[in-house]
C-alpha cells in the first residue's frame, strides 16, 4: 500500500522522481489498462492510450495540486485520453461515434485478445447502445468493482446519479441479453 502524499511529493522532486514514477506505473498500470481497454475495446489502442496517459501524468505532475486523490486524477486523465482517442478515430474514419462503436464490437470477433463467446459479444453489443456515461459507470462498477464513492471522485458526479445510471445500465443490458 503506497501513501499518496509521499508518492506525490517524491514525484515532484527531481531527485526521487524516476523511482517514484516507477512505483506509480507499477501500482496503477493494470487497473488503468482495464479501464481504458473497456472504453476502446482493442488491445493495441488500449496500449497506446495507456502509454499516453502515463506520459501526460509524468509531464503534468507539477500541476497536480492534491485537491483530488491521486487515483481519481489518474483515472480522469485515462478516461479523457480514451474518449478523445475514440473521437479522433471516428473523425479519421468519417463515421459517427455510434457507427464507430458498432464497428469496434464487430472487430472483436477477429480479435486474438478477445476470448469471449457469444454471450460476451452480445454484452459488448448491448454496451455499445448505452450512453457514454452509463457505459463507463457500468464497467467501473460491474467489472472493475469500484465503489460508488470512487467512481464519483473520478467522474465528478453525485453517488445518487451514479446509482441511477448503474441501475438503468444493468436493466438495459439484461433486457438486451434476454433478447426482449
Amino acid at each position: 500500500m503506497i501513501v499518496e502524499e509521499t508518492l506525490v511529493s517524491e514525484l515532484k522532486n527531481t531527485q526521487t522522481q524516476a523511482k517514484a514514477f516507477e512505483v506509480l506505473v507499477n501500482t496503477y498500470k493494470e487497473r488503468l489498462y482495464w479501464h481504458v481497454r473497456r472504453i476502446v475495446l482493442n488491445h493495441d489502442d488500449a496500449d497506446d492510450v495507456l502509454q499516453n496517459t502515463f506520459i501526460k501524468v509524468y509531464r503534468s505532475i507539477d500541476g497536480f495540486k492534491g485537491e483530488s486523490k491521486l487515483y481519481s486524477w489518474l483515472y480522469r486523465i485515462a478516461t479523457n485520453e480514451a474518449l478523445t482517442f475514440l473521437k479522433q478515430k471516428s473523425r479519421k474514419l468519417g463515421v459517427t461515434s455510434e457507427e464507430l462503436q458498432t464497428k469496434l464490437v464487430a472487430n472483436l470477433e477477429a480479435d486474438v485478445y478477445f476470448e469471449g463467446e457469444e454471450i460476451q459479444l452480445k454484452l459488448q453489443e448491448a454496451l455499445a447502445t448505452l450512453p457514454e456515461k452509463q457505459k463507463l459507470v457500468f464497467n467501473m462498477k460491474y467489472y472493475q468493482e469500484m465503489k460508488y464513492e470512487e467512481i464519483s471522485d473520478v467522474l465528478e458526479t453525485s453517488v445518487g446519479g451514479l446509482k441511477a445510471s448503474y441501475h438503468l445500465a444493468v436493466k438495459k443490458i439484461e433486457t438486451y441479453l434476454r433478447g426482449d
Binding site: L50, E115, I119, Q120, Y142, T157, A164
Partner: protein, 170 residues
C-alpha cells in the same frame, strides 16, 4: 456487545463501511445473466514489459530545430501584421447593435428556437441543490419511480447531474 480489547486481529480501514455494498454487488452478480467475465485478454508478459515502453518515452531526448526558429518568428510577425491590418480595416465599417434587429426577426428566432436555454443556463437561475427530482415524485405516489427514471433517461442528457435521491435505486 463487549469488545475484546486483546483481539489482535484487524480489518482493513473502511472494511465494514463498504461491506453491504460489496455484498449487494455480489448478490446482483450471482443472480444476473450478465456474464461475470467480459472476455478481454492481454498478450503474454504485456504488463511485465510495459514499464520499459514508458521509460523509453520519458527518457528519450527531444531534438529541437533551433536553426528554423528565426524563420518561424519572421513568419509569425508577418502573419500578425497582416491580421492586425485586416481587423483595423474591418473596424471602419458601421457596427450593428441589438437595436438594429427587427422585432419580427427576434420573434421569428424564438419561434424556431424556443427559449433555447441550455441546462447550464437554467442551472444558473434554478437552485437544483435545493430540490430533488424525487421531491416532486413523492407527492405523486401513483407515478412509478421506475417510469420516471426511464423518462429521465430518454430525455435528459446528463442524468447524473440531477439531484437524485440514490437510496431509491439500490
Amino acid at each position: 456487545m463487549k469488545q475484546n480489547h486483546k483481539n489482535p486481529h484487524k480489518a482493513p480501514e473502511g472494511y465494514f463501511d463498504s461491506f453491504n455494498e460489496r455484498l449487494m454487488d455480489k448478490i446482483v452478480k450471482e443472480e444476473s445473466i450478465i456474464p461475470k467475465n467480459d472476455g478481454f485478454s492481454v498478450p503474454d508478459l504485456y504488463f511485465e514489459t510495459f514499464n520499459d515502453k514508458i521509460t523509453n518515452r520519458t527518457t528519450s531526448k527531444v531534438v529541437r530545430l533551433h536553426s528554423y526558429r528565426k524563420y518561424y518568428y519572421a513568419a509569425a510577425s508577418i502573419a500578425a501584421i497582416t491580421l492586425l491590418a485586416f481587423f483595423l480595416s474591418q473596424n471602419n465599417e458601421t457596427e450593428f447593435g441589438f437595436e438594429d434587429l427587427a422585432t419580427a426577426e427576434i420573434d421569428a428566432y424564438f419561434e424556431t428556437n424556443g427559449l433555447g436555454l441550455s441546462s447550464y443556463e437554467l442551472a444558473e437561475v434554478v437552485d437544483f441543490e435545493a430540490i430533488s427530482v424525487l421531491d416532486i415524485t413523492q407527492e405523486e405516489n401513483d407515478i412509478e419511480e421506475e417510469l420516471i427514471l426511464d423518462y429521465l433517461d430518454e430525455n435528459v442528457d446528463e442524468l447524473e447531474y440531477l439531484n437524485l435521491e440514490y437510496e431509491k435505486f439500490e
